[in-house]
Amino acid sequence: MPLTGADCFLRAFDDETRRVAGANHVSQLVLRLGPGFDVALFEKLIDQVARAQPIVRAPIGRRFAVGAPVYRLGASSRGAGPRVRVAEADAPPVPDAVLPDLFADRLNEALSARRGELLRFDVVRYAGGAAGSDLAASWLHMLFDGSGSEIFIGWLDACFRGASRPEALPCPDELAPAPRPEQTLRERGDAAIAWQNWLRGFTAHPPHSLAGPIRRTRQKLHYARLRLTTQQTARSVEAAKQRAGFLTPTLFYLAAAIRAHHAVFRARGAEPGSYVVPLAVDLRPKGAAKAMFRTHVSLVWFQALPGQVDDLDCLIATLKEQRLAAVKAGQVENAVAAMDFARFAPNRLYSHLSRRGFRGELCSFFFAFTGDFLAGVDHFLGAEIRDGFHVAPVPPSPGSCVAVSLRGGRLGATHTYQHGVFSAREHEVFRAQLERDLEG
């Protein structure tokens, strides 16, 4: 089964991270659970899922080293099944925004797509589970995207409750090859060129990330979590609706993330060039059963000049205008065409071309807003979900990523960053600006 174009985009950066930073592009979903989580049953369930769904341990590669990469489902028996590792601790970390160090370590360890190491789990039990547990699902960003990982977790719980089975997928046809696009080859070629030309327009003001251009350095990611209170969240959600529109609150949170980075640039006395940020757009059919595996997104890119960043409303207006123009110009579909073609490019060439226009930079930082995290799922294998969120990965360049989501009426922002990119003082500046803007 072929990887999607977006999978291959991520695969190129996974390969780059492995070559220059000795790690992988590993994403993480974290659940903070109350008492009652049944580890033994979880291990058994994961084993059943690995047997029933070969994709979770399918080696990924090109057939005969050419063509588009595929999940080698037939060779999945040789792949490594998802491991579940359990650690014990006396008490949960304090304050509650702090995560076990083990989880951050997992972001910097190597996984091998070629050997089918696509997914692993870590559980930290506090007081033998009586004081709750933390669970991290870490996966190579070619097995799921963020939405897919939430569907996976919800589906695991449905299997636990007997509402589904490891053999039954939420979306019945999701392991079938993608349908052939309606456009002709020439039309798709034109679409890909249009997308390339659009991005080329950004190169007049190339971005400078806080980490600087790509260089050979060991990946060492940390993360910091900011969690607003319910009162702050209510203000934030209202501000996002009022200032960015109720359909596009993402742009409010993106603007806040841009301004947090801008505050650090100013504190450093450095020049950001411009802020260029890609935003993933979910391509799953609206209102239909949702596919779980593979990456089903397109990318819309935004650019803001430093002069547009000082005023939050001006920045949001700029982003709204760009979003509308991009959708109107068909850039969502064009990106899909471009990424589909690029599946055939060798990884090294792919990442080189992606960074060439910005002189070694890929973008200013990564950003994601994923809305209500695990909406409608209150428990996981018998334990209450007290909090849950995504930890999005980022290569050492641009070295900074902000993922925002809601859970239990509280807004959370998880900042993933490469070691050394932010000083302690800059981190305070970043966090203070982000919190201030998130509250509107």
Binding site: F246, T248, K286, G287, A288, L324, V327, K328
Partner: protein, 86 residues
Amino acid sequence: MPAPTIEELTATVFAILRDEVLSAGSDFSVRSNLIDAGLDSLAVTQLMLSIEESTGVWVDESLLTPENLESAETLAALVHERIAEG
């Protein structure tokens, strides 16, 4: 060309939603809630583009309130209003 009636607009908006924008089930009707049916920001913009193509009217996103997106009927009423305003 005479301006379309609200019924004609409702039928147009419903057809675009059903055939182009949403993968809705057979229970999807002109009164179904659009957000519940899966309409998101990208789908709304695509919907507005299709409406502009068939009616010549662009509905600014700032007018798309939860009330206006309640159903195909309420959305058609908004488009009708915009056409009347010229």
